[in-house]
């Protein structure tokens, strides 16, 4: 009996708390992205301030675990997604993302953008790039792996934290990297590597957090990650290992949702993304390489980073075609 | 009187809560002593000290002239029968008696026949495979006596063993106990609150009040004494029941 009274009260309370406090006349743009982008130390807060200064709008971030989880969420929500822009997919996912039919061409001039290999697309615009790399703690490991083969065949007692390719773009990146190097032998290589894997996390932030707190001496991250420690912490304790076979390239992109509530605002944001107001925050906050002109110079540390001799990158079509099968293969190898 | 006493308490002190008990007495081999007194006076404490369940704060307990203070309960040559729960309810009668011969139950054929003979002795031949729960209260106490009989220890401690059996049955059991005692040649200390039981079975009385031995005397004519106020109070309060 009493339940009929209490339930509505409880639900109303929750609704009151969950609805946005900014109920002013301002337009609101919601951007879906990954967790580390919007964390306190990520670029999100600064970009938000910069964009809001010129758009007379309210920019709202919604962060999920990582890039692939972003795509999963879109698939799940379909047309009900309440966002205008999705930021944080990478080239490996763009074909699948387009196949959802949820995106529409941005219709913007993207000449100012340049990335290695020259990715250009009518729907997705790159906003940063870097190469995946194994980052290690030089105080815990004296002889870091010098190649992917070294990593796979090294001492299983030296652990690495990796990300789940079903949720995370670095996780997917490693999967494709292994495939690029090992081809059909990738499954056997994964079985071997699984002995060195301390844990598989859903997202990059969790993995990197475990690494910096000392739970594992290696983590899958980016060639640019050590710059953070050099600039922000003034230490060169954490280094990226250069792999002889080459490194897999990640180009991160953003796109416009067809059902965006404020489409012009969303498009304005994508334009802003290619300007220094956005790009300035990428190197020293997202710790990736900018894709367009910045108004400040890259910190000195960036010149000391590993710069891969060779880059791997599957075409979006190849990645889309094989992703499901390769992930099954990965699951199979990793669950042995 | 060259023989050392079968059991001797020499200023044995034990403190529990407010009660500080101190006991000194000795008994000849083969004697039967009834321990009487109001509840809470320390009767069971005395028995528990003799059995080794309690460790005295000071004083010496001797059997046959040797101190048993440092011996564990199983090393003292003592058998004990309680008012209830003498038998492990989940083990059959034979096993319950057999444990008295070897606590790990490693029994050979002669040992098992000892068990059967003990059962026969208490009139329960053929009961060996039954569970304690299927026996009456009196039958269970017989099994306990059978175990004491099989063990043949020199000191037999009884803690109100026939209480709650009804007057007729209790008298029968008392007789059986005395027979067994005679066959084994054991010395008996028996806590009871029934003066008739004491009169019938015991040749000695220990009357305990407030943790002290208030009287240590032969049973003959003991209950007719009028010089003990504690005894008056005790008989006055229990005589009616």
């Amino acid at each position: 009996m009493r339940i009929s009274h209490v339930l509505p009260v409880a639900l109303t309370t929750m609704l009151a708390f969950s609805s946005s406090p900014a109920a002013s006349a301002e337009k609101t743009l919601t951007v879906y992205t990954y967790e580390s982008f919007v964390s306190d130390w990520g670029p999100g807060p600064k970009i938000e301030a910069a964009f809001e200064a010129e758009c007379n709008c309210d920019l709202k971030w919604v962060g999920v675990a990582d890039g692939v989880a972003l795509l999963n969420r879109l698939k799940l929500e379909g047309e009900k997604a309440r966002a205008g822009v999705v930021l944080g997919l990478d080239t490996n996912l763009v074909t699948e993302a387009k196949n959802t039919g949820l995106f529409e061409p941005h219709g913007l001039e993207t000449k100012s953008v340049s990335v290695p290999g020259g990715f250009s697309d009518t729907v997705f615009i790159p906003y940063d790039y870097s190469h995946f790399a194994v980052v290690y703690d030089s105080e815990a490991i004296s002889a870091p792996p010098a190649s992917l083969k070294d990593l796979v065949e090294g001492d299983p007692r030296d652990k690495i934290v990796i990300q789940d390719p079903r949720t995370s773009t670095p996780g997917l990146g490693l999967l494709l990297w292994m495939k690029s190097v090992y081809g059909d032998d990738a499954k056997a290589a994964w079985e071997k590597l699984s002995k060195r894997v301390l844990t598989v996390t859903p997202g990059w932030s969790e993995a990197y957090g475990l690494f910096t707190s000392g739970e594992a001496p290696m983590v899958l991250s980016y060639t640019t990650s050590p710059a953070y420690h050099m600039v922000a912490e003034e230490t060169d304790r954490y280094q990226a290992a250069e792999f002889a076979e080459g490194h897999y390239l990640q180009i991160e992109v953003a796109g416009l949702l067809a059902h965006a509530p404020e489409k012009e605002l969303a498009r304005q944001f994508l334009s802003f993304m290619m300007t220094p107001g956005f790009q300035n925050e990428i190197p020293t906050n997202n710790w990736m390489m900018p894709v367009a002109a910045t108004s400040i110079d890259l910190p000195e540390a960036f010149s000391t980073l590993v710069s891969p001799q060779k880059s791997f990158l599957y075409s979006p079509e190849d990645a889309a075609e094989n992703r499901a099968a390769w992930i099954d293969e990965w699951l199979d190898a990793m669950s042995r | 009187m060259t023989q050392p006493p079968a059991i001797m308490f020499d200023r044995v002190v034990y403190g529990i809560g407010d009660l500080r008990a101190e006991f000194s007495f000795q008994r000849h081999p083969g004697s039967v002593t009834a321990i009487l007194g109001p509840s809470g006076a320390g009767k069971s404490t005395l028995l528990n000290l003799a059995a080794g369940f309690l460790v005295p704060d000071s004083g010496v307990i001797c059997m046959d002239g040797r101190s048993i203070n440092g011996l564990p309960p199983s090393g003292r040559g003592v058998s004990i029968v309680f008012q209830d729960n003498n038998l492990f309810a989940h083990l059959d009668i034979r096993t319950n008696i057999g444990l008295g011969l070897d606590p790990a139950l490693r029994l050979d054929q002669p040992a098992w026949s000892t068990v059967d003979k003990a059962l026969e002795r208490v009139g329960l031949a053929g009961f060996g495979r039954r569970m304690p729960g299927t026996l009456s209260g009196g039958e269970r106490q017989r099994v306990a006596l059978a175990r004491a009989f099989a063990r043949r220890r020199p000191l037999l401690l009884l803690d109100e063993p026939f209480d709650g059996l009804g007057p007729g049955l209790a008298a029968d059991m008392l007789g059986l106990m005395l027979e067994i005692r005679a066959e084994v040649g054991a010395t008996v200390l028996m806590v009871t609150h029934d003066p008739d039981e004491a009169r019938a079975a015991a040749d000695q009385i220990l009357f305990i009040a407030k943790g002290r031995i208030a009287a240590d005397a032969p049973s003959d004519g003991f209950f007719e004494r009028r010089d003990l106020p504690e005894l008056d109070a005790y008989l006055g309060s229990t005589g009616e029941t």
Partner: protein, 540 residues
């Protein structure tokens, strides 16, 4: 003692409650079947399913063996030492993990057993080079033993303490010691409760979700529950989720049937209550093994909780408390908890009443069935674990996108069903004794119907009802299973917020949150325990 009308009302209400529970359980399962029916499985998927099924069973089996193999000697040691200082405190401590949110416990376990935890530091000092890993199978096992060792001890210890004091005196008198005492006396007294505890522990570990999610460390250490969650949240693959759910339900069903076989009803023995002295237990140096065992177990169970408190206090609690996100999550959590607890108590009350009515004059087989079903309803919720339940509703609601009320209702329902077995166990005996006390009197005074319900029965049951309610709130507050599927930026509960903070590696925030959440549930659990004790019937 009920009037004819009251019987009819009780049965109708009970039937309605059963129907609601049945629907809440059946609908999601049907949806899973319908959604998954069309999808096939590739060969590698089949092998993957096989492997995680095997892992689920293996980790549950190992967890059970480890928990019981420790709990039996520990219960024995505790029974042998009935009066050491701090014993009561330790037994109380052992009641805590049952109500501790798994996520909070996981945090504490990482503090203690992680690479930089005290355990590994100690091992390092001892010269052990390879650090112990809290991730993967070893971590899952540690966590499961942390939760289930105390539970098993609390199950087993009473069996020993119930034995009459004469047993121990007789054992001492006969010289039964060590192994023979264990074989002949102690083990028979523990066997039944140990078997029951083993079954329960296996069941809890086979359906463990949060701990495996956090500590599993990848596909090699994934249970069915986690795989269901991943199939929906990671792959959006309803077919796979269905297969996994079917295996899970089949597995739990088999285990429960097996349990029915093991734990045949026992005949109560004649007991005199707990013994206070154990003359059979050797003292002095011989007590050392018991002391060491009890000490180690106390530290094992206590250390993660202490770690949560210490690292929580180091966090910036004032900032956390000033964060509107925290208050939003706390409000959501409490609202869900209160709603779920009300629903749970209501359902339990109706079922208990119907069972009583059916037993009062169970002439017809239909009434017998009603009684049996009402009794089984609570176990049914164990059969279909929260994640399976949530998965069905998740698919039906299209992932709950853009909805608030429907996902909330599902979370409330799932939490209510989760708490139902515990709440029923608190209410049923109290209801029975209240009916025995007041039944005839009410009839003779002519107080019937609603006025009887309001004036006699409910006031008489106020304490157990409140106990069940508080307990259900505490359970719901700590739950991550139902929210994990529906959690979004719109519906955030405290455990979900904690999980997010862990994910984004805001360690200090997570530690502070864990302390707040742990403190809240612990306070409620202790309150429920207090109330239960005052009432004479605990959840245990």
């Amino acid at each position: 003692m009920l009037t004819r009308t009251e019987h009819r009302a009780a049965r109708a209400a009970g039937l309605a409650a059963l129907l609601c529970i049945g629907l809440a359980l059946a609908v999601p399962v049907l949806v899973l079947v319908a959604q998954g029916a069309g999808t096939g499985l590739s060969a590698s998927q089949g092998e993957y399913l096989l492997r995680i099924t095997r892992f689920t069973l293996m980790q549950a089996g190992l967890s059970t063996i480890l928990s019981l193999a420790t709990a039996v000697p520990l219960a024995r040691a505790l029974a042998r030492r009935p009066a050491f200082p701090g014993r009561r405190w330790l037994i109380n401590l052992f009641a805590v993990p049952l109500g501790l949110p798994p996520l909070v416990a996981a945090l504490g376990l990482i503090e203690v057993w992680g690479r930089n935890g005290i355990a590994n530091k100690g091992l390092g000092l001892l010269g052990v080079e390879t650090p112990f890993s809290i991730y993967g199978l070893s971590g899952i096992l540690i966590a499961h033993v942390f939760f289930n060792l105390p539970l098993a001890v609390r199950f087993i210890l009473p069996g020993l303490e119930r034995l009459p004091p004469e047993y121990w005196k007789t054992a001492a008198n006969l010289g039964m010691g060590g192994l023979s005492l264990f074989r002949l006396i102690e083990w028979p007294a523990m066997r039944q409760s140990a078997a029951g505890a083993a079954g329960l522990v296996f069941m809890l570990c086979a359906t463990s979700f949060t701990l495996v999610l956090v500590l599993g460390g990848g596909p090699a250490a994934t249970t069915l529950e986690v795989a269901i969650y991943q199939a929906l949240r990671f792959d959006f693959d309803p077919g796979r989720a269905l297969m996994l759910a079917a295996i899970q339900v089949g597995l739990t069903l088999a285990v429960m049937l097996g349990l029915k076989l093991i734990s045949a009803p026992s005949k109560p023995g004649d007991t005199k209550g707990g013994s206070t002295s154990r003359p059979d237990a050797p003292h002095g140096l011989h007590a050392l093994p018991d002391a060491v065992l009890i000490g180690v177990a106390g530290v094992f169970v206590g250390a993660p909780m202490v770690a949560v408190i210490i690292s929580g206090l180091q966090a910036d609690l004032s900032r956390l408390l000033a964060d509107p996100q925290f208050w939003r999550a706390a409000t959501t959590s409490l609202s869900i908890g209160v709603a779920a607890a009300l629903l749970s108590v209501l359902l339990a009350g109706l079922l208990v009443r119907a069972r009583y009515s059916a037993a009062d004059r169970s002439a017809s087989p239909a009434l017998g069935l009603l009684s049996a079903l009402s009794g089984a309803a609570s176990s049914l919720t164990l059969l279909v674990p929260p994640v399976v339940l949530g998965a069905g509703w998740f698919l039906m609601l299209g992932g709950g996108v853009g909805q608030m009320l429907a996902p909330l209702a599902v979370i409330v329902t799932v939490n209510a069903l989760m708490a139902l077995p515990f709440v029923m166990r608190v209410i049923e005996p109290a209801h029975l004794s209240a009916m025995q006390r007041n039944g005839r009197l009410s009839l003779s005074l002519g107080i019937t119907g609603f006025s009887r319900l309001w004036q006699i029965d409910i006031p008489a049951l106020r304490l157990p009802l409140v106990t069940g309610f508080v307990f259900a709130v505490a359970l719901s507050l700590g739950d991550l299973g139902a929210i994990a599927l529906f959690g979004s930026d719109r519906i955030v509960t405290l455990p979900w917020l904690l999980y997010q903070k862990l994910g984004s590696y805001r360690t200090s925030d997570a530690a502070g949150l864990a302390l707040l959440l742990g403190g809240l549930t612990m306070g409620l659990m202790l309150a429920a325990d207090r109330l239960g004790n005052r009432n004479g019937t605990t959840g245990q």
